[in-house]
Symmetry: C2
């Protein structure tokens, strides 16, 4: 490993001078020296020792990737295709920009604060965090941050939100179902509860992550259903449990209504596919008897039969945008908007079928 001293020796100057050109304090160094040193730096692909960087408070080039709940749909959240796709994208971008990703299991706030300060991370990416939860953390933690899919109420310039147009997605979903002949379609979303240690209660007053997202999607859905003077009762918004067993029982209970309505939009592809499977097991044909539409367009949407009609969001780009904004904040830029919402679009596949009017 080549040190600052080595570079200084080669250039015949002191460490100070090399360090100065390294940090752009170049006004006090002759142009000639600057050029010479820069050349040597490049030739030797000089990389400062990380331990030293951390010790001198110059950052660490570590980005903490914080996952706000350990389990989704009963599996570790890193296995969630949405989160792993995001991680893959962020990791890819970070690597190209000379940053490094450290995964932080984010269930205990104390834990996150500890890791972030111990490692002196340059910034954090939060996924699945409510704003309230983040703000609580924020008090103890002074770091640049990007929240993914968290609706923020207050504008702040040291953190950012990167999300998608959930309302618009819900609207497209509703509009499409309406057009395909399902003015009574249901909207089914899974609740998200963040479990911190023993207590779920503590969070009950928070606007919960996915809860809020499904809320927005439902609002869009509803707006579309009502656009031609129709009425869409709140009773058509069904929240199902996070627990797989309970959820299955809920599906059973919903079934008659679903058959009646003929179609349902879902808050996620996961639940949509789960419903397709459930119906399959009940010998109910999708889309002949029931039409289903998902949300997210995860990898598996094309991988099931019937192929899932769904609202597409570009996860890869989301990860790239999140990282890019974080990097710019770390490097001292002041970003103009505090939130960005990427557009989404309907992808028509095979899980929705035009309703044939009954005779």
């Amino acid at each position: 490993m080549i040190r600052l001293q080595d570079i200084a020796d080669m250039a015949g100057v002191s460490r100070t001078t090399v360090s100065n050109v390294l940090h752009g304090n170049t006004k006090r160094v002759s142009q000639e020296t600057v050029d010479r040193i820069k050349k040597i730096l490049e030739e030797n692909e000089y990389q400062p020792n990380i331990g030293s960087m951390m010790l001198t408070g110059k950052g660490s080039r570590i980005i903490g990737f914080v996952v706000g709940y350990s389990y989704t749909h009963g599996h570790s959240s890193i296995m969630d295709p949405f989160i792993s796709a995001l991680l893959a994208s962020v990791q890819h971008e970070a690597e190209n920009a000379g940053y490094y990703i450290m995964i932080i299991g984010g269930d205990e706030e104390k834990h996150i604060v500890e890791i972030a300060s111990r490692w002196n991370v340059d910034g954090l990416i939060f996924i699945g965090y409510s704003e309230a939860r983040y703000r609580r953390l924020r008090r103890k933690l002074n770091k640049k941050a990007v929240l993914i899919d968290t609706y923020t109420l207050q504008k702040e310039y040291d953190y950012q939100n990167v999300g998608i147009d959930d309302f618009g997605g819900g609207y497209q979903m509703g509009e499409y179902l309406l057009e395909m002949g399902y003015p009574e379609a249901l909207f089914i979303g899974e609740e998200t509860r963040v479990v911190i240690n023993e207590s779920v209660q503590k969070l009950s007053s928070d606007k919960i992550f996915s809860g809020l997202i499904n809320e927005k999607r439902w609002q869009g859905f509803r707006a579309a259903m009502e656009k031609n003077g129709g009425f869409c009762s709140i009773r058509r918004f069904i929240t199902v449990s996070q627990d797989t067993q309970t959820r299955k029982r809920q599906y059973e209970r919903i079934l008659p209504r679903l058959l009646d309505a003929g179609a349902a939009g879902f808050g996620s592809d996961y639940n949509a596919i789960e419903m397709i499977n459930f119906l399959h097991d009940q010998r109910i044909r999708v889309p002949d008897q029931v039409s289903v539409i998902g949300f997210d367009d995860c990898v598996y949407a094309e991988y099931v039969r019937p192929r899932l009609t769904t609202i597409h969001q570009n996860v890869e780009e989301k990860g790239a945008v999140a990282f890019d904004r974080l990097r710019r904040m770390i490097e001292g830029e002041t970003l103009s908007e505090s939130s960005i919402f990427a557009p989404v679009k309907l992808i028509v596949r095979d899980s929705v079928k035009r309703r044939v009017p009954e005779k």
Copy 2:
């Protein structure tokens, strides 16, 4: 952040003494002092500054998680359910043991060496690495390492292999198909080529990762097929391309043989499910016309219809074992075996049906 000096002040001793009890150089310190210091250390939850640790060469508590190929089945490998499950498990264990996971995109060897030495990682976990590739890396890199699913020919005690009983899994697969009435069943595996920069060729002489694994699985499959004096031609081992389009065309070409044989075992759940979908699109019913059996029992095996009969491996445990062994090596233990192979077992679901003898 509380420093060594602070602890020393509280205890009324020098940093040296605190450091000595911290590292167990306790013979030269009075028992009384040791106890007092330990108590203070605990009360204050003292954690050494990482920058300092790195600078003094005492390790970093970073484990590099190296993924040997950037893409599997056309997606970033972090999105592969097998790899993300592994990552989730390793991350979980590491966090509990006070280690931290840094993801390293492992396509360029130079890159890995650079990151590993720059961060002074304590150890590395390699997934999807051929032994030859690893050994090449090894020359430039003196780190403890665990290889996952890499068959090693030479015994060495500074790295370990954690794998599963691929042969046994193939055997169970073959045995089951035989018993269900398919003595002519095919075995279909996807080739794995690791692309480093431009050149695929360079690696052609290596025993490629998944190639070797499928080889073992096939050997088990074949052994089962031949157990009662039967004959299983090598022609029944079909290798399909890594490219999705090409693979689809290959499926089309294989189709007549498959219908004839009535069943196929696959090297992975991914390909098995893909085939089920392919058959579905051809209006061929699984398992009525063709039986299919997968390998790995990934999350989606239960999530498709028909539910996939497959060979189960415990990925979570694999991750835990891999981390545990690495940790023990890092902490100076000498492990007795250089490889361990976890058992696998057949999980019967709905994708294989007993063949009805023709009349």
